[in-house]
Symmetry: none
Subunit: 205 residues, 4 copies
DNA sequence: CATGAATGAGCTTTCATTCAT
DNA sequence: AATGAATGAAAGCTCATTCAT
């Protein structure tokens, strides 16, 4: 009585093959310009097979989001375990973002380029995972403020988004100019950490 | 440098009517989900008429970019005329961005949501105007650095993008949560100015 | 400000051409085995043109029903105008049915073969026209009964359907064995009239 | 003359289970809108199993016809055994038809609704069983005529079809309005017998 | 015999674009 | 310049059928 999707079972890697293919194809053409048939071809499966694993084309994109967000959030949780210092947490957050960007540039490109569209146009998809991600950010900021390390005249609700906007735009730049980017992920992470901490830290007498 | 029918004559405002209609329609459905026929209807012209004023659907979007960018750049040039203080320039830049956002939220939504896609997928369009816009930003930063007011350990090439990313993401948030946004444009502009200047200013003695 | 379908106007016969083509194609393959593209080809229009005149494939079939039913009902009304004798009315009804069958065997085939399907599966289509047609039949029967010419121990609700069933099945036979039918329409009409009247007439002392 | 697995063994009722399931599914959706997978699910067998027992989807429908026709013909032969009176035979024929209709309305619905389609579109299927069924009918009529009980001015070839058309249409009505039919099978059978016999009987002196 | 995942041809419908008027 | 009916390529998705296990 196997489940339809055989999640996690070996002997069947089609689900993953389709996702991997979709990343490549979406990164190449964008979601709207990508054809399901092209994904199928790239994954070496028949067109119809796609629909055994995904409800429809939108569902493939959503699955990519979820997959990526789980990846990021899980990495963050790992690294921040036992860390107390808000400054260190900021460092970890930014580094994790850029490391994943460097490791999976295609996936990052798709997320970065299509996330906004989807946020607006896939109405039924509430994008909870993304809110969770932003939540981690505002938790860090609030923690730093509570501990008296960060300034308290900034709205976490605004700053978390500004913060994300920086990472996202730098990521976009990296991804679009790849593989000839003028700046390395390492460098962007460092500059941004420097920049953000300067802005956040309370200046004491 | 359009010359099509720039005769200044009245009785022909169709070019503008089509652009205005496109803004509404794109804001409503996104570029890919918008139909040329819907734009035509919204503009009260025939489907075919669109093609007298624009090469194709992509061209309408590109025209919107150019229009918006000219608007922003021209507003910035006006306001910064005679201003020397880099701090003041930062303030002006941010304020201009959010003011236009507030005045033309639909247009802003379209630019913000579709710019990224287009940047990558309208291959032939090099988006010079956007580069000009970013250029103003790095000029301000470099100016501040030269004048010894801003730190000199930050890369203008990186920071200008981080800077734009903040505004863009905050704008997206405003636009998507409109008309019930938790934060006013005013407030976002102030918080961001505060944040950015804290990060940029050199700490002396 | 022409209306979409230009009903009745000359210079545009596409609506009719599509209907005529559909009759041929449906008669050849049946509704479900017919492709819209084949109808388009038969009508010498582009595939997309079909959708300027009809909502979808189902709508073409429904239009054929309506067209046929209007045709029949109108012919019946014409011929029965001023006729009082129920016996004569029965004759007229049967003759009209078989005449139209002979004149438009393809259309008849489609109606006969697909009407039943549609009755069940196009739930949203209430098939009022067909009920009107049956209504004429039961009116004739009731009239004959009231006038004391027909028997009064038969239920018009049942007999009208039995009556229609006879015509329909004979029509089906004619259409399926066409053009080599063993019996002419004339002969079937006469035999059926004879049969039905024998059954309906009251036997007086 | 199936030989596939007619071993009389229990542990294998799949053939019948599939047929029963097909009746339900076809009655629910019609032949063309029914999916083989749905039949398989309803029968609690795998999709592929269907093809061990039937050549293809068409073959399932054909098997249902054959099954039904055998059932009817066998019932008729039973009941008419030893019966000589043509009037009584007509009564038996009609009653048998409506009894089976009442007992297996789903099967009747499928036969009634899909028989016509199939008659024309399953080219290779010559529908001999249906011809046999009609043959019984014309035999009855001819017998009555020969015996001088029925009129001799009616063509058996025409009347047998008119006769069948009545039963079929009444059956369709019953089946479609089920389970809230206005008329019972009993009543329809009686009315029709009455009607038909009035038409068939020779009026003497 | 039985399974059900996989296949891929095939279909309806959409919509950017054209062009005769 | 303006129209909008017509075009037809294109693509998402379905489902009867197969075949490796």
């Amino acid at each position: 009585m196997k489940t339809k999707l055989m999640n996690g079972s070996r002997n069947n890697d089609k689900h993953k093959r389709i996702l991997d293919a979709a990343v490549k194809v979406f990164a190449r053409n964008g979601f709207f310009n990508s054809k399901v048939a092209e994904i199928a071809k790239e994954a070496n499966v028949a067109d119809g097979t796609i629909y055994l694993y995904f409800k429809n084309k939108d569902d493939i994109l959503i699955s990519l989001f979820e997959y990526r967000m789980n990846q990021v959030i899980s990495l963050l949780n790992d690294r921040m375990k036992g860390v107390d210092d808000p400054i260190e947490k900021v460092r970890i957050f930014i580094n994790a973002h850029f490391e994943l960007l460097e490791q999976h540039p295609n996936l990052a490109a798709v997320i970065t380029l299509e996330l906004r569209q989807s946020t607006k146009f896939m109405k039924e998809y509430d994008n909870q995972k993304f809110m969770d991600y932003l939540g981690i950010l505002s938790d860090i900021i609030k923690d730093g403020t509570t501990k008296g390390i960060f300034r308290n005249d900034l709205s976490p609700g605004i700053i978390k988004r500004a913060f994300f906007g920086m990472m996202d735009e730098l990521g976009l730049y990296y991804v679009l100019s790849s593989p000839n980017s003028q700046y390395s992920c390492r460098m962007m992470a460092d500059q941004m950490t420097n920049f953000v901490l300067s802005a956040l830290l309370k200046l004491n007498g």
